[in-house]
Symmetry: C2
Subunit: 704 residues, 2 copies
């Protein structure tokens, strides 16, 4: 093992945690099964190349290594200190470590925030001292961190006691030590080899985002698996995930608490803020993190992404000795967004020359004949690989991998094809003995026993690969030309409309009238029919009190409506301050949409788009993105709703102007981002989409 | 091996296929790897208890068994004949077998429908001869059938050459030999033991439904796995699945061709009718067959259902040493329809007495403390099992199953709990060595490495169990009080409305008027406003030619509309026969719904329900069932749409009379079933649902 970094490593603040030159263990134990003994045992067993300092005032040496009575007594600089003492003694060890100018501290000890308020206060004091001193703190109440390339095991993870897998290139970042540890085992069972592992415990200092950021920077980590229960700082997580995306590193992330019940279970288990699950979905999609629904799916994807390569696109070629498997793969490919392009006629002809009753289209059904003579299969595979139109190739080979003799008949030809076409993702679906599966994996070919699972995994990897090339979904700098301050106090509809219009959102014309005749004049100027609404900061639900009149067709109708409205509102809300009446043209036709902003407790202002009414309330057919969004992202939001056909001409509706919708969403998102701290929500309902242009006709701004 | 049936076996027509007393192999080979040699080799190896007659005119014995020159030469009755000769010789062997009065014939040989029209004709001739003689024909072009309890292997499935698993209680019925064979291997890998296996090949005689029906009747088959690509006779499949349901046997079925692309791949691979995929969904749901999306899911469910028991309900208790896994299980349970009831306070208190920082609610988080002292975990498990409110219990035990020493600490206590609570479905999520997983399975406990997959499987088993107790979704006898014949020729709207009303579907009142004044009189009698529509068999799209007038408020409006309509229709369709005008009250308010009947090529008339317009066309929010349906099923259809809240008071809409909707659906389904052979489709659009009552206002009947 080497203690030096790979040549292409760029220095990073957390190097001292993930790649320390020296490690001290306070609470070092001679018992290799105690939490103060395990790190030493693991590092000795694997040959940690840095310096190791057990701290134990009662012993001259620990597990055969010279021990020191204290950190002070070492007399040399220490990068990383492991704290494995009782919770009550942690603070003094941390103080000593800070005094000795260590770079990072890992606190295994429990007895902090997870135990109640006293523990929380103690934890906050320790965290504050570390923050002040610029020392990185991992934990407390965490099972630690390891770097398998360096044989640096600052962890008491029990999985390592019996099973230690070879170093690899997949990083694990977990908020739960138990899940992280289990995931390490599951990954190992699947042949996924881990580069670095970190469990963040109570996250008094470092959090998941910090660890992802380090792995995004680390040349030895090619893929990151993340287990997340909650998040304090959504912006930091977002940026770390964007870092990984920009470095083209797949992040496979499981965020639990998807359901209300699950979120409640998570809240009782951790102290983290819940955040809205649809917002997590949106944010993870934006940052190209693959949201896995199970540990198994995480491992499948880490396996596929690390065996690689990442495919260039979503075109799949399928070669199978069973027509039925071809159908299974086609179904699953279609469901998951892969396409199966037809092979060129000359390739089809060549396949039929090899096996007369084969189907050469794609999926290529080689028929059971190829099971009797394996050279037929390899010749067909050669033809399929020679076709440049597939980004991935899946081949089904039934039970071939159960027999060394059978697999031996295609081994060399298969590996040759793999080498000749290094840019293809290649997967086999077959039952295989573990040693054959491991060998195939080493050659850069995936193996799955289930063909649908193989297909779904290829589709996911293709989606992740495509996400690397996308421009950022969120624009870091607001594109708004001007940002006006929010007025003090509550905003009535007229004020909200005016303010949003000033920020670039088109609204139906609006005139304020203080008298009947002003209203008539305004209506005549803008053209009948018009709408009138009472203006009052004291009346939030205007239509409930007779404060709205629709479809007024002439001056007489305006005058009558004015009188009726004033009488009705005056009776319902005698104390309300009436600032007049808004007059707007009555907008008819077009398609009603809704745009909004909500404030997520984790990720801040989120912009929302959907169709109005039941489509939002009953069908939940809305899309979200973090504000501010780019124009491209706004178009994605619009195209992401299930009801899109209603905007593109379905059922005799007009095809509406999507550019106007997208521009309005961008403007709204800029407004939301600029006022992130002050806004609770914005709702523009409806925004009328029309064949040309479009405009909002109502708005509500709620301040925090 | 015994050749006798279990004592509780009821005689079934296919006993001679699945449980023959004697088997002859025509084309018997001395080479145990040839298709005519494999059945003999497999039966000799495993000890088939019946009589075995190799037929080979050139040899005195085959694989050590006395051979006969022909079927005639045997001179004894033969139950089952295997035909393993070249396709061109099959017909003569079949003739000889029929002459010898055999009961069943399995044709391995290929060269039939799968090879084109000549083969198809040959196949049809053979099938017709068997049908005429009352001989059961399996195949041709099939890999055969086996009964592992009887060691009867009328198959050349290669999977058996290297791997033969112990007999069990899961049946496999597959249209594809390759998939069936692979499934047998996957099942074996998971510890699922097979009782009977059959691949139906070209299905010239027996089909999948026949085989399911036999397994439903067989006491040794407890669970059936089915792989289906297409179906000729939907009614037979439906009845076989209902048989299995009535005998409380889980059927796990994979029907491929879910997507348009997959269906196209299936069509090129088989000759089967496609049928609509949503109709398959509906039919499988009605008959309680679990529709699996992958082979892996099939095996998971066969595993769970065969290790059993089937749980009594959907209440899950979770005990985990990792809080994170508790959240994962809660999310997945919620997603899949399980509930996690809270433990009683006294149980919670007792748990906290065992582990002070545990969470005792449910999921019970025992904390990592229980990994150090396993007795804590078993004591908590005892408390959870003692609570009668859980139908299933899931426990997460991390890596415990990797270590005999660790698992040994809870083994006896766990098995004791299993025995004391035989009605609970019990699952463990942990990494386990194969021998430990196999042992646990033998004790009747499921093992899954992935906790979400364990949870989803429990949920599926609970759903299957619940389906056994449901009354049949489809009523076999039409409940209609009267069935009137369909009039000859095309039906115009008035005729369609009248006919459907006669069958019990409420319609808005309708009067036919031949003159203006008749229309006025009708309108006055029913009350304004009214709707008028032209009546003509030649005008299908009335509104396109000015043949519809809405909202007519008085006699004058009726007269004007009449004149305008006649002028407009006369101009647009000068040749059309005009039979007068329909007058109906203008129905306003209520919620528009759609009811319909479509004719599925496989399953016949299907009744459909949904909300009108975009909800059907864009959101595909409709439910289907096979006609005729019971009232309960009609209510399920209504409650099955996503837009149900629009019928139950969402967004200020009225809560409508669901009983009227359900009765109308029953009546429509009866009408459809009674005229199954003559109808192409029926559309009642809209049917206006109202707070009390409700009625149809338009109808279209299209005959075949």
């Amino acid at each position: 093992m080497s203690s030096s970094f790979p040549a292409d490593h760029q220095p990073h603040a957390l190097d001292s945690l993930f790649h320390p030159r020296s490690v001290a263990v306070v609470g070092a134990s001679s018992d290799p099964r105690k939490i103060g003994g395990r790190p030493i045992a693991y590092m000795l067993r694997s040959g940690f190349a840095g310096e190791l300092f057990p701290i134990n005032p009662a012993q001259a040496e620990v597990q055969g290594v010279k021990a020191y009575p204290s950190l002070r007594a070492i007399g040399k600089p220490v990068d990383l200190v492991i704290v494995a003492v009782g919770g009550a003694h942690v603070a003094e060890v941390v103080d000593e470590a800070i005094e000795q100018r260590v770079s990072a501290i890992v606190v295994f000890s429990s007895g902090f925030a997870e135990m109640g308020d006293d523990g929380r206060q103690l934890q906050e004091r320790i965290a504050a001292r570390c923050a002040q001193a610029g020392v990185h703190l991992l934990g407390p109440n965490c099972i630690g961190v390891f770097n398998s390339h360096q044989a640096m095991y600052a962890t008491f993870i029990t999985a390592l006691e019996h099973e230690q897998f070879e170093p690899g290139h997949v990083g694990i970042v977990s908020q739960s030590g138990a899940i992280g540890s289990y995931l390490y085992g599951l990954a190992g069972d699947r042949g996924v080899r881990v580069s670095h592992f970190v469990a963040t415990g109570n996250e008094a200092g470092l959090d998941v985002a910090d660890c992802i950021d380090w792995m995004a920077n680390d040349p030895q980590t090619h893929v990151v698996m993340v287990y997340l229960e909650g998040c304090r700082d959504g912006d930091r997580l977002y940026r770390a995930l964007e870092q990984a995306r920009l470095r083209r590193k797949p992040v496979i992330l499981m965020k639990v608490g998807r359901t209300e019940q699950g979120a409640a279970a998570a809240a009782s288990h951790t102290g983290s803020l819940a955040g809205s699950d649809v917002v997590y979905d949106a944010v993870l999609s934006e940052t190209n993190a693959w949201r896995a629904n199970s540990l198994e799916e995480m491992v499948d994807l880490a396996y596929a992404c690390s065996v690689g390569p990442m495919p260039r696109g979503n075109r799949l070629g399928v070669v199978t000795s069973s027509g039925g498997v071809g159908v299974i793969a086609t179904d699953e490919a279609t469901r998951t967004g892969l396409v199966l392009p037809t092979l060129p006629q000359e390739t089809q002809t060549a396949i039929l020359e090899i096996v007369p009753f084969a189907s050469g289209v794609n999926p290529v059904d080689t028929t059971a004949q190829t099971m009797g003579d394996r050279t037929l299969m390899t010749r067909i595979l050669e033809l399929v690989f020679a076709h440049p139109g597939f980004d991935s190739v899946l081949t089904f080979n039934a039970n071939m991998g159960r027999s060394e003799a059978e697999f031996g008949k295609i081994r060399e030809a298969l590996y040759q094809l793999r080498r000749e076409h290094p840019d293809r993702l290649v997967a086999m679906s077959m039952r295989a003995k573990p040693e054959i599966a491991a060998e195939i994996q080493r050659e850069g070919i995936l193996v799955f026993s289930d063909p649908a699972r193989a297909t779904a995994t290829i589709a996911a990897v293709a989606r992740i690969a495509a996400g690397f090339d996308r421009p950022p979904a969120r624009v870091e700098e607001s594109e708004a030309r001007q940002v006006l301050p929010l007025p003090a106090g509550a905003l009535d509809e007229a004020a909200a409309r005016t303010l949003l219009a000033q920020h670039g959102i088109p609204f139906a014309p609006l005139e304020l009238a203080s008298t009947t005749e002003e209203a008539v004049a305004a209506a005549q100027a803008m053209g009948y029919p018009v709408v009138m609404k009472v203006v009052s900061p004291d009346i939030p639900h205007k239509s409930d009190v007779g404060g709205v009149a629709l479809g007024l067709r002439d001056a007489e109708a305006v005058r009558t409506a004015w009188a009726v409205m004033m009488e009705s509102v005056g009776r319902a809300c005698p104390q309300a301050q009436i600032d007049g009446v808004m007059v707007s043209p009555m907008i008819t036709g077009g398609v009603e949409t809704v745009m909004g902003v909500t404030r997520d407790p984790v990720f801040g202002p989120m912009v929302m788009f959907g169709l109005g009414g039941v489509f939002v309330e009953v069908f939940k057919d809305v899309t979200f993105r973090r504000a501010p969004v780019s124009l491209t992202t706004a178009h994605e939001m619009i195209r992401g709703i299930q009801g899109l056909p209603l905007l593109t001409g379905a059922r005799g509706k007009p095809t509406v102007d999507l550019d106007t919708l997208a521009s309005a969403l961008v403007a709204l998102s800029n407004f939301a981002a600029a006022h992130a701290g002050e806004l609770d929500s914005v709702e523009i309902n409806p925004f009328i989409a029309r064949p040309s242009g479009g405009c909002a006709v109502d708005a509500l701004i709620v301040k925090r």
